[in-house]
Amino acid sequence: MAPDQIERETTIAAPVERVWTLLTEAEHIGTWFGDAGAEIDLRPGGALVLRWAEHGTVHGEVVAVEPPRRFAYRWAASTAQGDAELVAGNSTLVEFTLAAEHDGTRLRVVESGFAGLDVPEAERASKVEGNTEGWAQELGHLRDHAERVTA
């Protein structure tokens, strides 16, 4: 079965609190995320604005703020070009989880909800079960298989 999410993680030799600060403060977000500044109203429902010099502005909405363990927002970035207003059906959910590990932090990000994106043929009732293999791999396998049998 095909999942519709991306999962990545990294291990950082710094305390969870420091990673939390980098993740959630506008001054820092504007550095590692956008390259032309950021604004964030750090509370559920708060607005998030990410700016890129060349790609314009992307809007988001904060979903969860549970310092220093979980930070989540919805954004319209993955499918949008240029300025994008956040509306229902054009956004995906990005969830960061932070866990203390040895002397550092395990930082995990999951971006999900690609199947729920509003497109003419979308069937919103569809449900996708989680699968750690990831879409790219699943699709790649199927693609490879399809190419073999159609060659």
Binding site: A2, I12, L117, T150
Partner: protein, 103 residues
């Protein structure tokens, strides 16, 4: 939004099986596919129509039946798109790591 259309098309488990069966067999008709799935021929026809609109399959007439085959280009493009998004996250996580470990 083409990639999103692909996700929406594949999000249904039965539709995913229809596409997987087509990929395994090389081609198929609504009748042959329904014979291998716990759904009716009519249901298979509806699923094939969604896959067709998403650009995931193509069809041609063979006698009184319509023969379907997988279009790998669409899947290939979507797989590359997802791989691109994943590597963007890798780059962002690496940037956070550098910043966090800098002091």
């Amino acid at each position: 939004m083409d990639d999103a259309g692909v996700f929406a098309a594949l999000a249904d488990p039965t539709r995913w099986r229809v596409l997987s069966l087509l990929a395994e067999r090389g081609d198929g008709t609504a009748t042959t596919l329904a014979g291998e799935l716990p759904v009716s021929r009519v249901a298979v026809i509806k699923h094939l129509a969604v896959l067709d609109r998403a650009g995931l399959v193509e069809s041609r007439r063979r006698g009184r039946e319509v023969l379907y085959t997988v279009r790998p280009e669409r899947l290939d493009a979507t797989a590359r798109w997802m791989a691109g998004l994943a590597s963007e996250w890798d780059a962002r996580l690496a940037a956070i790591k550098r910043m966090a470990e800098a002091e």
